[in-house]
């Protein structure tokens, strides 16, 4: 019993020692003392950043050198890609002063404007649209013409978007749409596209966009309607121009 009392008293004294009342200084605060009494470093654990997130540690000079090397590599790759795209674009575009102009013209489009120009209300950008109705050979189409500032995607581009007329021969055009979708996938098109839209980039300052358009043409030219749309593109463009529309982007 006496031993128990002594042990209890010792415990009480220990508890009191660990509860200083003076603010400041090592060990103030009730639970602080046991934690900051000099014994804790053994308990300090280093939790590393996940290996998949961690990047190599570098001096500022090393970081600057790596940044420059990466920029150089990017430039080399970009120039190589630009050369390849320009060569690809040259198959169906004429290039003058950095502007690629679509050079096919079948003169196949006839039509008229439907209504007046409508603002596209693009957040942070500009653009408008106007619909025209016309014919490519035996096919009736509604061409929804858009003027959009595509920014870095296409730089300055003039593009005709045609939405297929759901009346008339629409059902006959389903195979054409499938060919078009496949071509878009093959050429990895990133241009805005919704089901039922066809587009033809008439002019662009971006060789990558021109190269992609050439790819689309090559992938879809076996389809009679798509071939007529592509080769008649310049006529459509002229028609639009003749109706006082400016579809050039700037």
């Amino acid at each position: 019993m006496r031993a128990l009392m002594v042990a209890g008293l010792a415990l009480l004294l220990t508890a009191c020692q660990g509860n200083p009342t003076v603010s400041g200084g090592a060990g103030s605060g009730s639970n602080t003392a046991k934690k900051v009494d000099g014994a804790y470093p053994a308990g300090v654990k280093r939790y590393e950043v996940s290996a998949d997130l961690k990047k190599p540690k570098m001096t500022m000079a090393q970081a600057a050198a790596e940044k420059e090397a990466a920029a150089t590599a990017r430039n080399i790759e970009r120039n190589k890609q630009l050369a390849e795209d320009s060569a690809q674009a040259a198959l169906h575009y004429t290039q003058e002063n950095g502007i690629f102009n679509w050079k096919h013209s079948g003169g196949a489009f006839n039509g008229e404007a439907l209504g007046s120009r409508e603002d596209l209300n693009i957040p942070g950008g500009g653009g408008y649209k106007l619909e025209v109705a016309g014919k490519f050979d035996r096919w009736d189409i509604n061409a929804r013409l858009r003027s959009i500032d595509f920014g870095v995607l296409t730089d300055k581009s003039s593009m005709i978007v045609a939405h297929l007329n759901k009346g008339g021969d629409y059902k006959d055009l389903q195979p054409s749409l499938r060919v078009w979708d496949k071509a878009l996938s093959t050429c990895r098109s990133t241009l805005p596209y919704v089901f039922g839209d066809l587009y033809l980039v008439m002019r662009t300052t971006n060789p990558k966009v021109a190269a992609m358009q050439v790819c689309l043409y090559e992938e879809s030219k076996t389809d009679p309607f798509l071939a007529a749309f592509m080769t008649g593109g310049e006529a459509l463009d002229e028609f639009v121009g003749n109706n006082g529309l400016d579809i050039s982007l700037n």
């Binding site: 003076v22 603010s23 400041g24 200084g25 090592a26 060990g27 103030s28 605060g29 009730s30 639970n31 602080t32 934690k35 900051v36 000099g38 804790y40 470093p41 308990g43 300090v44 654990k45 280093r46 939790y47 590393e48 950043v49 996940s50 997130l53 961690k54 990047k55 190599p56 540690k57 570098m58 001096t59 500022m60 000079a61 970081a63």
Partner: protein
């Protein structure tokens, strides 16, 4: 205006400390920057302990979305994108569950204690950085009376503190030029430094925003003959209300501002970043539980950031105490298990080439202060 309103004003400021020309310091190229976060930083929302399952139950509305992951255990506040990248690049280290040993939760006592580095608030007339500079340089001289306590030394160091004084932006150096010839060589060096400063070559900006001050500090410290230490004061961390969490609140702006200051400092230091250490200091942490105003009350344990080219970053150092009620300090605050003075001592040891024992004894008056230098530096 009451005390709390004053703290909310979030006054910013920059103080630079230089050594006199004749001082002989071990590593004269090394620099120290202290971001002084006034008001009490909520460490639990800054470096979020994902390892702690209870946290969300205490403060769900304060838990930010889009945390910046560090590991399965920790994440950074979403406003600290630049700092996050620096942590991934192993240039910044997080320290958690840390505090100066001060538990009374008073801003003025706490701020005085973490600047003075003594054993009790208002016990010291000098600051721990100032005392370390004194030991490292064998003294210098004071050039400004409104130097923050943190940088004040017993014999004084060459300090600069920008003040709003009419005409101070365009002072004449004519008097100093006249004095130059009559001074001894070492005083001529000091005279030249003063003229350079007055000519605007050291500190020539009217931009007193935190970002602007960080830019100035970086430029000044990057100079081979520039100051060796700087303190940048950022206010407003007393987030009793509208702290933010799911929706950006005050802490989002504050941590974003700190993040900008850190990246701006690094950019303007350039190669000197490799020889610079920055740390964040705050007087205390905040309560674990959210209060009725979508904020937190004054607490105890908090988090620190230590960064720089020589820092062994890319990790969080902690002896995690847990957040069960019984593990909380006074059943309300995060327990501090790392004495922040150990971090400060490590920074002084590295930056000024002092012995840990001397720092513990003469700077912090705590001979048994644990040494963590090897845990912080490469």
């Amino acid at each position: 205006m009451n005390r709390r309103d004053f703290l909310k004003m979030g006054a910013t400021g920059l103080a630079l400390a230089s050594l006199p020309g004749w001082a002989n310091i071990a590593n004269p190229e090394r620099r120290l920057v202290i971001f002084f976060l006034e008001g009490g930083l909520d460490g639990l929302s800054t470096i979020v302990p994902k390892l702690e399952g209870r946290l969300e139950s205490f403060r769900e509305e304060l838990m930010p979305d889009n945390l910046l992951d560090l590991s399965s255990h920790w994440a950074l506040h979403p406003a600290m994108r630049a700092t996050h990248q620096l942590m991934l690049q192993q240039d910044v280290l997080g320290i958690h569950a840390t505090s100066f040993p001060y538990t009374k939760r008073s801003h003025f006592e706490g701020q005085n204690l973490i600047q003075g580095g003594g054993l009790a608030p208002f016990s010291e007339s000098t600051g721990w950085v100032g005392r370390a500079l004194d030991i490292a340089s064998n003294g210098g001289r004071a050039m400004s009376l409104d130097t923050p306590l943190l940088l004040r030394g017993t014999t004084g160091v060459d300090n600069y503190y920008p003040a709003h004084v009419n005409g101070s932006s365009n002072p004449t150096t004519r008097l100093l030029e006249m004095l130059h010839g009559s001074l001894s060589p070492e005083w001529q060096t000091e005279n030249d430094k003063l003229m350079a400063r007055l000519n605007g070559r050291v500190f020539n900006s009217r931009d007193r925003s935190p970002r602007g001050l960080s830019e100035e500090a970086g430029k000044a410290l990057a100079r081979p003959d520039g100051p060796v230490a700087a303190m940048i004061r950022l206010g407003g961390y007393d987030t009793h209300a509208g702290q933010g969490g799911k929706n950006p609140g005050r802490l989002f702006s504050l941590t974003g501002e700190l993040d900008t200051c850190i990246s701006t400092l690094r950019k303007n230091l350039g190669d000197a970043w490799d020889n610079t250490t920055f740390i964040t200091l705050t007087e205390f942490g905040r309560t674990v539980k959210v209060n009725g105003s979508s904020g937190t009350e004054h607490g105890y344990g908090t988090a620190m950031l230590v960064g720089g080219g020589a820092v062994n970053g890319g990790a969080v150092l902690a002896d995690w105490p847990g957040l069960a009620k019984s593990d909380q300090f006074e059943r309300r605050d995060l327990m501090a298990t790392i004495d922040s003075r150990s971090i400060c001592a490590a920074v002084l040891e590295h930056t000024f080439g002092l012995e840990h024992a001397e720092i513990a004894e003469r700077v912090f008056f705590t001979p048994n202060l644990p040494r963590l230098t090897d845990r912080i530096y490469l």
